[in-house]
Amino acid sequence: MIECQELTKQFGALLAVDNLSFQVDPGEVLCFLGPNGAGKTTTMRIIAGFLPPSSGRASVCGLDVETHATAAKRKIGYLPEGAPSYPEMTARAFLEFIADARELSGAKRLARLDEVYGLLHLEPVLEQTIDTLSKGYRRRVGLAQAILHDPEVLILDEPTDGLDPNQKHEVRQLINQMSESKTIIISTHLLEEVDAVCNRAIIIAGGRILADDTPGNLEALSRFHNAVSLKPADPSQLQSLRGEIDALPEVVETELDLKSERLTAFFRDRRLSLKAINELADNKGWELSELHLESGRLDEVFRTITGGAHA
């Protein structure tokens, strides 16, 4: 469990984190979303015990990260921003050092090392020095370091940055596997990641929490939520279709995306949207190659929410 109470961090004149309070329970995967400089990394650094807060307090599994620093750090696995590691060490020597520093010993040490080598597919590069590894492998070595002691709490700052789509998928699966028993916070710029791994998202900008909800509820804030998108089999019909949909009394407006040849209709009463379009299409005998209900667009919500704070 992670608890933050009125956490504030000031760097000179800059207020990086402004009175943040939230709690994350085991089984939750919390995603920090926010523009660059929003305070995501600073918040994570405070919880991980790297920076002391200017005021307020943070605790991990009931242990205050300032007054019980070492005990709290034992509970945490932390991937710092950019996954720093010692470039002159081999991946194996580096992870063995982490195992020693975390006081793993004997059979458990060997078993945990073997397990993370396997989980992150590090076997081919174990004897290579870290400075010769690709960005993807370096990130995976950093992740291996964070999960090595099987911590109760994981704090991962941009865990999939620099990975290719297959590797991203694997890391997300790994996070999903671990999420049942652990408390996890990740930060990301990738909105698709929120849907893929998180069951809760906090949008931060200017050091403040602007939204704190499930990804589904955040998407529902989007004006695209329950809008209907359709694509006629014959693109030349787009304009005439648009005219007929516009004529429906429930429709507020329509949008035409010429690039994807899709028409999107926004409704006053969002619950009725798909039914209305379906009926219209049946009556008129339209031939549609695509018809679906939009769940909402997180990127649009993100821009709307953070836009004000950013400008």
Partner: protein
């Protein structure tokens, strides 16, 4: 395994994973030999003693030890690994001690590798080996003092060049504290006990007596206190940096 040991082992691995260790040892040995034979008149002196060898150690350490210590913390700050280190379940003093002991053990190794000169002097004559052992001990203690200063300075910056230069300057002042030209501006207006106190801080005074074979507890305590003080300051600096 203990946190200090984990840090120490990693550091030592680090030295030998790069050319640093080999370059340092080779340069140390070459310079030690060169000073001894060229300036120390090891052969022409006609004495079976290693005094010509030990006399130049302070000057050798003045430049070589800061080269070793400059990266201790500055590099961690620069590459961001400090964040990794500080979020491991270790106390700051454990990291400071681990790094210091590793660097000190490494200088001990370099010093031990000068053993051929000890064999040579025993082959050529009959030196007092007790004095030589004491001088080695004194030299190692002095190296520890230089290293502790260097480690402290390295923690204050993320620039290794600055760490090097500042360490050289501080070590130079510490070396020369007992030297007349440096003290003369004080004579006349500063009370004599204070001048004596400044002079007694000099590395050279304390090293000179040990290297003559006189192991005085006060000299050992001096170096031990020096090391302890600077390592403590090192821990404080890291805490202060953390607080931003």
């Amino acid at each position: 395994m203990n946190g200090v040991t984990a840090i120490m082992r990693r550091e030592l691995q680090g030295y030998f994973a790069t050319p640093l260790a080999y370059v340092f040892i080779v340069i140390f040995l070459v310079l030690a030999g060169w000073f001894t034979f060229n300036f120390g008149n090891f052969y022409n002196g006609g004495q079976a003693s290693l005094a010509p060898f030990f006399n130049y150690h302070p000057w050798l350490y003045l430049f070589l030890v800061p080269a070793l210590s400059m990266r201790l913390w500055a590099e961690e700050h620069k590459t961001g690994t400090i964040e990794l280190l500080m979020t491991l379940p270790l106390d700051v003093w454990q990291s400071v001690a681990g790094k210091f002991i590793a660097a000190w053990a490494f200088t001990a190794l370099a010093l031990a590798l000068t053993f051929p000169i000890w064999i040579t002097v025993n082959y050529l004559g009959e030196p007092d080996n007790g004095v030589i052992v004491a001088a080695y001990l004194g030299s190692l203690m002095m190296a520890g003092g230089f290293l502790a200063i260097g480690s402290f300075v390295s923690a204050t910056t993320n620039n290794q060049v600055i760490a090097f230069i500042v360490t050289v300057v501080i070590c130079f002042v510490m070396l020369m504290a007992g030297f007349q030209p440096l003290l003369s501006p004080l004579v006349g207006w500063v009370p004599l006990p204070i001048i004596d106190a400044v002079a007694s801080l000099s590395f050279l005074t304390h090293f000179a007596s040990i290297s003559k074979g006189v192991i005085d507890a006060r000299d050992l305590i001096y170096f031990a206190l020096l090391i302890g003080t600077f390592l403590y300051a090192n821990v404080l600096v890291l805490h202060m940096k953390k607080a931003g």
